[in-house]
């Protein structure tokens, strides 16, 4: 640890000494506090309040290069062990010029998440790489394509078996038509590896789960329509369909009821999202959104409560049901940016968020309301 701190200090000194005259930096400080009526997004409905502090720093050694560092700590007042520290670094390089019809975007990043006691087995690190380019066909039409790579590793010795590498290829087109209407279509493929249990097993041994390496593929297509409503209001509707292949014979380990499980957010199906942004109230940004998701999850093995002996047990893998959810989410947000000298902006934010889920598994029938108040200063 001491070595890495010294290394960072030396690196910072070298960066400052090698700073070109027009090299500069920007930074952002964010404080956020909130209350959620359902922290774990399940039928237990565990309430909690939390606070998050975040600091980020961006350095520009060249006009085409951005180097960013950020750190974020979240504290949960009741579920203290879930409190965690996230730190990350990102480098973005855009080697093309503004007037060119071609834009190239390259980025690489590193994320590290550390939890407190009892949950440290979820500590993980991720490396992200992205390369993409767009071509301006005309003033009203642009094409784009690119690829993403993310490699995630769970770092502790007793960590869960969910290391994975994700690859993604995507292509899209954005076009304007009939005045102020915009249509954006994107499609892509993703590939990842994962560990699974054969779904024909009639019993499960948690000591030796017999996990096997697998691969599955994902295909998606997503059209988005957007347009203004009058001068100061904009609206967009986004539809997305995602389909998984190669998953029929697999059962994955859930490790926990939703939330931190590597599979908590992996599902295929369709969704439609309506978003609205308005500047009608002077100096205030009002954002609102409504979304509906039709989700089918991977078959996930979770411990279930057995009332006959008042404890949890593992069900046989061949009896794991497929989980299907219908999820609705609404939000309303107010932001009030206040400008200062030296390009500083102070921005208070209030957000109210409501979600409701109907699931084929009763454990995941829930509603949740979250209220968050935040303050951001950026320069």
């Amino acid at each position: 640890m001491r070595l890495s701190v010294n290394f960072l200090l030396v690196l910072a000194c070298l960066l400052i000494l090698s700073m070109p005259i027009r090299a500069d930096f920007s930074y952002e400080i964010n404080l956020k506090g909130g209350y959620t009526g359902n922290l774990l997004n399940d039928s237990l409905g565990m309430e909690d309040s939390y606070s998050t502090s975040r600091a980020s720093f961006k350095y520009y050694p060249l006009s085409t290069l951005e180097i960013g560092l950020s750190s974020e700590y979240t504290y949960y007042s009741k579920t203290y062990g879930l409190s965690n520290l996230l730190y990350s670094g990102t480098v973005i390089h855009i080697p093309t010029v503004e007037s060119s019809p071609v834009t190239v975007y390259l980025s690489a990043g590193y994320d590290r998440v550390r939890y407190r006691e009892n949950i440290e087995s979820f500590d993980n690190k991720t490396i992200r790489v992205k390369a993409s380019l767009s071509y301006r066909v005309s003033s009203g039409m642009r094409l784009r394509t690119g690829s993403n790579l993310a490699a995630t590793r769970y770092v502790n010795a007793d960590s869960i078996s969910a290391d994975n590498d994700q690859y993604e290829l995507f292509a899209g087109a954005n076009m304007s038509f009939l005045g102020s209407n915009s249509l954006d279509i994107e499609t892509g493929f993703s590939f990842t590896n994962y560990s699974f249990i054969n779904d024909s097993l009639e019993w499960f041994n948690p000591v030796d789960p017999g996990l096997r390496d697998g691969h599955f593929r994902s295909f998606y297509i997503s059209p988005r329509f957007s347009r203004p409503l009058g001068l100061k209001t904009g609206i967009s509707v986004t539809y997305k369909y995602r389909h998984f292949a190669n998953i029929n014979r697999a059962v994955v380990l859930g490790y926990a009821t939703g939330f931190l499980s590597p599979w908590a957010l992996v599902f295929d199906g369709s969704s439609i999202v309506l978003q609205l942004k308005s500047y009608l109230v002077p100096h205030v940004v009002v954002s609102a959104g409504a979304g509906y998701w039709d989700k089918t999850y991977l078959k996930t093995l979770e411990r279930v409560y057995n009332p006959s002996f008042h404890g949890f047990e593992w069900p046989p893998p061949n009896q794991v049901p497929r989980r299907k959810d219908y999820f609705t989410r609404l939000y309303l947000s107010f932001q009030r940016p206040i400008t200062f000298g030296f390009n500083g902006v102070l921005e208070p934010t209030v957000t109210v968020d409501y979600s409701h889920n109907n699931s084929s598994l009763a454990t995941y029938d829930y509603s949740s309301t979250t209220v968050t108040v935040g303050l951001t200063y950026r320069r």
């Binding site: 920007s26 959620t36 006009s63 085409t64 951005e66 974020e72 949960y76 855009i94 080697p95 093309t96 010029v97 007037s99 060119s100 834009t103 975007y105 994320d111 992200r128 993409s132 380019l133 003033s139 009203g140 690119g146 993403n148 995630t152 290391d163 994700q166 993604e168 954005n174 102020s180 954006d184 994107e186 990842t192 997503s222 203004p228 409503l229 001068l231 100061k232 904009g234 609206i235 967009s236 986004t238 995602r242 939330f259 931190l260 599979w263 908590a264 992996v266 599902f267 369709s270 969704s271 609205l276 942004k277 979304g291 509906y292 989410r329 939000y331 400008t339 921005e347 957000t351 968020d353």
Partner: protein, 145 residues
């Protein structure tokens, strides 16, 4: 079926509001006649409306020039010319952060894609609430690009 109904409801609301919305003044009205509407970030606003004080709110009252945000200061046409400009055109006095942000503006449709294995539920400014520090790219080890 529910999804279809939800979609139809949303589209009906959108188009009924659109039909009933006051057309003038429109965002096109403040732009030059030969400036095309373009919305790469999907917020429903013309991306060419300037934000002079950089507070995140477009300045609808500011008259803007054609493609003013995407014309290179030096007018160079080669694709990878900006690195050379840093060395050979010292008269371009913009700080690097501002020059980079202009480049990033050109790449606003490339910064984030809608695919991957991760959830896309986290839309809007309140995303990641309840997940706290996990509001970044990855949640539980699954990343959303």
């Amino acid at each position: 079926m529910k999804l279809v109904l939800a979609g139809l409801t949303i589209l009906t609301v959108v188009f009924s509001i659109t039909a009933g919305a006051e057309e003038p003044p429109s965002q096109e009205a403040i732009l030059p006649a030969n400036s095309r509407f373009i919305d790469l970030d999907g917020d429903g606003f013309n991306d060419n409306i300037p934000d002079v004080n950089n507070d995140g709110i477009p300045d609808f009252s500011v008259e803007m020039t054609q493609e003013s945000r995407v014309i290179s200061p030096s007018g160079e046409s080669d694709i990878f010319g900006s690195l050379m400009n840093d060395v050979f055109l010292p008269e371009l006095k913009l700080p690097y952060s501002q020059k980079f942000n202009r480049l990033k503006y050109c790449a606003r449709d490339l910064c984030k894609s809608r695919g991957g294995f991760g959830s896309d539920e986290a839309f809007g400014p309140g995303n990641g609430i309840g997940q706290g520090a996990l509001s970044g790219h990855c949640l539980g080890g699954i990343c959303h690009f």
